[in-house]
């Protein structure tokens, strides 16, 4: 295999000379990774700004947004109408899940880490890789354009349940654009998924057996498998919805043998695996990084991989727990509850292994390590609160309240984003050849983790009061009005969290020029990407591909010269 890859490297990869070929329609996986990262960060900014508008409206219902209000909502003199609020949380959810987090943890991690960590010169299909990025951008543009349509963008929530997302509830064009944008994003994910799997299966360098793969690669492989299995389902649902809207069919209508519940089944059949699609790369990454910065081999490596496999399998049979109150059979509710509980077993094993890696380590508190520890803390909270929602009869109360909002933000938003930041801080020196500032990184971490915990724990407490999600104004209800000070406090914390991200943006941009030179291996890590120059040249590995002799986490080996042994070191 390595011979074939080498021949490929010599004949297939001529470095593009033009700017457009090198940076716009790039084929080099490292450039595409950076493109995905910048795209993801851009949409993170857009989605985050929407969150700020939402929090403003909740803290000060129907009060004009300061400074930018008159520019954003000129018709009202600057405040959000209820429909604007609905549009904002719909777009916030959609953009964050599909256009911010997905490109960061799958597009960026996958493209950057896979070829470098498995000792390949590029992805198996570089052109498909490029196409995957541009489908993502196209989908994003369609979604952003829909904000300016008459009638506004989609306002039916990121779950888009018909009939609200059908012609009955959304006769305007915004919903159609939403469907198109999301479908293109799904196509992008599919192209990424089969490319990643092909690359890992076919292009591993000599000696890199399955049990020697970094856990990041394992996480990305399982994510890709889930993407391949479940994205087509949601794409089908979206296309049926599109046909319902444009040609008047009744796939999700209320009569003629069809039911709106069909869409919910299809959506959550994808939607639940989607949360594992997002978290698996992060689990893989932090399993690797905790080993790097504890200077210890990853504890229970095979148990971690088996747990990822178990999660992948279980994720496909639990979707009904989103529908306990939707009108499905109570018996099915009980089946789905029992199946959902199974998730906690592999999850517990992850935590055991992370703590096991830290145990008797020699921990270095670098910025990426802090973010990894943040993931462990935040995900433990998010995962455990899932049991409240999984308990069928309790969910009858908690469903569609802020308890759910707090829970899923902890798991699929905060954990995944903290993981994405860990990845960016960790690979930044390899990507750009310079290091980010550690002090600013630590300030960024400290503010982020504090506000995240406050925001989402408070949301869960409000949820335990029964506070419904997606309300433009809570003050209509007597049982919610008295909680307004807490709601406003959350908004404050969100503002602080948002400002802390400016520290990251500043650090990111400034370090490009002024960061200290990174050298080949600033973190003293053992995986293959750290044997290349920073940034790695086109084709990654010079004339001869590295050969692998050991596992991915050989740290503090007794008798070794250094406290890490690179995977490519023989003997």
């Amino acid at each position: 295999m390595s011979d074939a890859a080498q021949a490929h490297g010599h004949h297939g990869h001529h470095e593009p000379a033009s700017f457009v070929g090198k940076y716009i329609f790039a084929l080099d996986h490292k450039i595409i990774a950076v493109q995905f990262m910048l795209g993801g960060l851009f949409f993170l900014l857009v989605g985050g700004s929407m969150a700020l508008l939402l929090r403003w409206q909740l803290a000060n219902p129907f009060v004009p947004v300061p400074v930018i209000g008159t520019f954003l909502f000129p018709e009202t003199g600057g405040y959000l109408r209820p429909d604007d609020y609905n549009i904002m949380f719909t777009m916030h959810g959609t953009i964050m899940v599909f256009f911010a987090i997905t490109p960061l943890v799958i597009g960026m991690f996958g493209n950057f880490a896979i070829p470098l960590q498995i000792g390949a010169r590029d992805m198996a299909m570089p052109k498909v890789n490029m196409l995957s990025f541009w489908f993502y951008i196209l989908g994003g543009i369609i979604l952003l354009v829909s904000l300016f349509l008459p009638g506004g963008a989609s306002h039916s929530g990121w779950t888009a349940y018909p009939p609200l997302s059908g012609l009955v509830g959304s006769p305007d064009l915004g919903q159609t654009f939403w469907i198109l944008g999301l479908t293109l994003n799904g196509v992008s994910s599919l192209m990424g998924a089969f490319n990643y799997i092909s690359t890992v299966v076919m292009m591993r360098t000599k000696g890199l057996t399955a049990w020697r793969l970094p856990l990041t690669v394992w996480g990305l492989v399982f994510t890709s498998i889930l993407n391949l299995l479940f994205v087509p389902v949601v794409a089908a649902a979206l296309i049926l919805l599109l046909v319902d809207r444009t040609f008047g069919s009744q796939f999700f209508g209320a009569n003629g043998g069809s039911t709106p519940l069909l869409f919910q089944h299809l959506f959550w059949f994808f939607g639940h695996p989607e949360v594992y699609i997002l978290i698996l790369p992060v689990w893989g990454l932090i399993s690797d990084l905790i080993a790097v910065f504890s200077r210890k081999p990853a504890f229970g490596y095979k148990a971690t991989v088996c747990s990822m496999l178990a999660i992948t399998a279980i994720s496909g049979i639990v979707w009904g727990h989103h529908m306990y109150t939707a009108g499905i059979s109570p018996t099915m509710g009980k089946v789905f509850m029992s199946l959902t509980m199974l998730v906690s077993i592999p999850s517990a094993i992850f935590f055991l292994n992370w703590l096991g890696t830290l145990w008797r380590g020699s921990i270095r508190y670098t910025t990426p390590m802090l973010f990894c520890l943040g993931v462990v803390l935040v995900f433990s909270l998010g995962g455990l609160t899932g049991i409240f929602n999984a308990a069928e009869m309790l969910d009858v109360f908690l469903h569609d309240t802020y308890f759910v909002v707090g829970h899923f933000h902890l798991t699929m938003a905060a954990s995944v984003l903290l993981g994405a930041f860990a990845g960016i801080y960790f690979w930044y020196p390899k990507m750009f050849g310079r290091r980010m500032n550690e002090t600013l990184g630590k300030i960024h971490f400290a503010i982020s983790i504090t506000t995240i915990l406050y925001i989402f724990i408070m949301m869960m407490i409000l949820g335990a009061h029964g506070m419904m999600r997606r309300l433009a104004d809570n003050s209509n209800y007597a049982f919610l009005k008295g909680l307004q000070p807490q709601v406003a406090n959350i908004s404050w914390a969100v503002l602080v969290l948002a400002c802390a991200q400016l520290i990251f943006v500043f650090n990111f941009l400034f370090s490009l020029k002024a960061g200290p030179k990174a050298g080949e291996n600033p973190w003293e890590a053992a995986t293959l990407e750290w044997t290349t120059p920073s940034p790695p040249p086109h084709g990654n590995f010079g004339p001869v591909l590295p050969e692998v002799y050991r596992g991915a986490h050989e740290y503090s080996v007794p008798g070794a010269a250094n406290d890490w042994v690179p995977q490519s070191q023989s003997g």
């Binding site: 210890k296 509850m337 703590l355 009061h465």
Partner: protein, 290 residues
């Protein structure tokens, strides 16, 4: 600390200057935000753990699951947090103390892993499932018989709850969507005499200590009938009839909420639940009879 590993370069000092500027800017933004923020007159504050009053035996049972899960997951969270803190404090980098080289793949580690799996499965998972199923048996599956309960039909529409009682004869009149009008939200067929005495109202009036069965349908999109004080909700789906029952044990006025996003007026789709004595209920019924 990694600080010692940073190469002392030209960037570091400039970094400090810019970092100070960035933090200053943040402080400015926070102050600006503070002046822009002007709160309303404060409503009567609700305590952080002052959850909505419980007004049925069934709601108490549902709430008991909350506390059970809180204790179980709380214990698990404390275990993780203590383990994490302990490892982070005790095993930070110290000169001359190398990390312990282990892959955690010994038989002992496998034993710990399997023990944990069994512990989580039996101790947490199955305990919660058992508790939920026990409550489901007494609440969800324990529908009152047809004759002991009061039947009320709920027809949801954007953004109102319509309610209908069968009236004196105890039989609901026939309805058809073709009769939907402003003054006939249920679409009652005027030719059907059974419907002549049907009582239609905007708030849910029920007698205390009496089981009530709600039969719910929707005209347009999905809504969710939510009674916070009774700890229950049920989606109302176009094309389906969903059912819910409760038995309120305390008189008073409570709120009905819509819990499923149903459009721009979703936040205003509020209803009223009035739990009254049997005499008041009979009086009210008589006063509403057409």
């Amino acid at each position: 600390m990694i600080r010692s590993r940073l190469e002392p370069g030209a960037g570091t000092r400039t970094f400090r200057r810019y970092a100070a500027a960035a933090l200053g800017l943040l402080a400015l933004l926070a102050v600006a935000g503070g002046t822009a923020y002007a709160g309303d007159e404060p409503a009567k504050a609700i305590g952080l753990f002052e959850f909505p009053e419980i007004i049925s035996e069934e709601a108490k049972k549902i709430d008991s699951i909350f506390w059970l899960v809180l204790y179980l997951t709380g214990a698990a969270f404390v275990a993780v947090a203590v383990g994490l803190t302990w490892c982070c404090l005790v095993y930070r980098k110290r000169e001359g103390v190398p990390a312990f080289y282990t892959h955690g793949s010994s038989k002992a580690a496998l034993g710990v892993t399997l023990t944990l799996a069994v512990l989580v499965f039996l101790g947490v998972d199955m305990n919660v499932v058992r508790a939920s199923n026990a409550v489901a048996k007494e609440v969800q599956a324990n529908f009152p018989t047809e004759d002991e309960a009061i039947h009320i039909k709920v027809l949801a529409q954007q953004f109102v709850w319509n309610l209908r009682w069968a009236g004196k004869n105890g039989i609901f009149g026939r309805t058809d969507p073709k009769f939907y009008r402003e003054d006939n939200q249920f679409g009652l067929d005027e030719e059907d005499q059974n419907g002549w005495d049907d009582v239609v109202a905007g708030s849910l009036v029920v007698p205390v200590d009496t089981p009530v069965i709600l039969e719910m349908e929707s005209k347009d999109v999905i809504h969710s009938f939510f009674l916070p004080n009774l700890r229950i909700k049920q989606d109302v789906v176009p094309g389906m009839t969903t059912r819910l029952w409760f038995k309120a044990t305390k008189t008073g006025e409570y709120e009905i909420a819509c819990a499923e996003l149903c459009g721009l007026g979703h936040y205003q789709m509020r209803g009223l639940l009035r739990v009254v004595t049997q005499e008041e209920y009979d009086q009210w019924m008589a006063s509403r009879a057409p």
